[in-house]
């Protein structure tokens, strides 16, 4: 198999939680990593400091992935900072605005779709330009167990996360022959700021009887980004302690 061409990794929403763990993990695998963040500059700087302390390379770049110019800003920024194209893209940035569908406003619907799905689409479209030329690419979309199994109050979030899975599969069949893989990771209950305060009685439904950690999700992303996963394409990897089983 041809050696992996030189490239860097871009992780959106990487200032904390699962995204931060993914950025640290990919950096320890040898990827120069762009730590994208929207508002938490201190968090992103902390992730960059962690990576550098461990001997890796990282840079923090601010952008709201819901914006139409974010893809160009992030990819230009990544390429000019590291001098190599983005060959691993992790669409992780996500927001939630939960409510029962009867009460869900248009604004909450659109805002969640814009960040969680449309942002990932625009970044993927931009990423494919350089990945196709490089004959190599790794696109990893952080979906959710909610994209596979219903959860009341999350129609917008679930629609976006299920949409990510469908987009992942479409990317696979369009560009697999260029050495590009696209896979989705579907975390279940993971201990992060986003799940803090949610009723932990739900944990009794998890066969593992515990919440997962961001590092346990990051390990799966590292695998999917590695050369070892070259033939894993269009898959949805659940990381949920057995919740979807």
């Amino acid at each position: 198999m041809a050696e992996r061409p030189e490239g860097c990794a871009l992780v959106t929403g990487a200032s904390r939680g699962i995204g931060a763990a993914i950025a640290r993990s990919l950096a320890s695998d040898g990827w120069p990593v762009v730590v994208n963040y929207r508002s938490d500059a201190d968090g992103a700087a902390g992730v960059v400091a962690d990576v550098e302390e461990a001997g890796g390379r990282a840079v923090a770049l601010a952008a709201d992935v819901a914006g139409p110019d974010a893809a160009e800003e992030l990819f230009s920024g990544a390429e000019s900072h590291f001098g190599v194209p983005v060959l691993a893209l992790v669409n992780n940035a996500g927001i939630a605005a939960d409510d029962l569908i009867s009460l869900l406003g248009d604004e909450e619907w659109q805002r969640v779709l814009d960040t969680n799905l449309t942002g990932a689409f625009r970044l993927t479209r931009r990423a494919l330009k350089s990945m196709m030329r490089a004959r190599f690419g790794r696109i990893i979309n952080i979906s959710s167990i909610v994209g596979l199994r219903a959860n009341p109050g999350q129609a917008n979030y679930a629609a976006a996360k299920a949409g990510l899975i469908a987009m992942t599969k479409t990317v696979t069949v369009e560009v697999a022959r260029r050495g590009i893989t696209a896979n989705a990771v579907a975390p279940g209950w993971i201990d992060t700021d986003m799940t803090a305060g949610v009723e932990s009685a739900l944990l009794s439904n998890v066969p593992a009887r515990r919440a997962g950690t961001p590092d346990e999700v990051a390990a799966c992303v590292s695998f999917l980004a590695s050369d070892a996963a070259a033939y894993v394409n269009g898959a949805v990897l659940t990381v949920d302690g057995g919740l979807a089983a």
Binding site: K129, M132, R133, E174, V175, R177, R178
Partner: protein, 80 residues
């Protein structure tokens, strides 16, 4: 920007050859279908053309193209 037909022709042939067909098969009259050049290959050709000649070819432009010569002529006309 001034670019000659010969320059474009040589770049197009080089790019198409990287997708599989033998360079000797890639004549002006050859159709993309004969060369087994598919829509994804044409997307990549459009990216090369955009990078090298700042000519933006859209999906509807590409759909009209049947032969290598048509692609070369379109790129040259847009680059002028």
């Amino acid at each position: 920007m001034s670019v000659t037909t010969e320059q474009v022709e040589s770049r197009v042939v080089e790019t198409l050859a990287s997708f599989g067909p033998d360079a000797s098969q890639i004549t002006r009259d050859a159709t993309f279908e004969e060369l087994d050049i598919d829509s994804l290959d044409l997307v990549e050709l459009a990216q090369v053309v955009e990078d090298d000649y700042a000519v933006i070819l859209k999906g509807e432009d590409m759909k009209e193209l049947k032969t290598v010569g048509q692609a070369i002529d379109l790129i040259v006309s847009r680059a002028e």
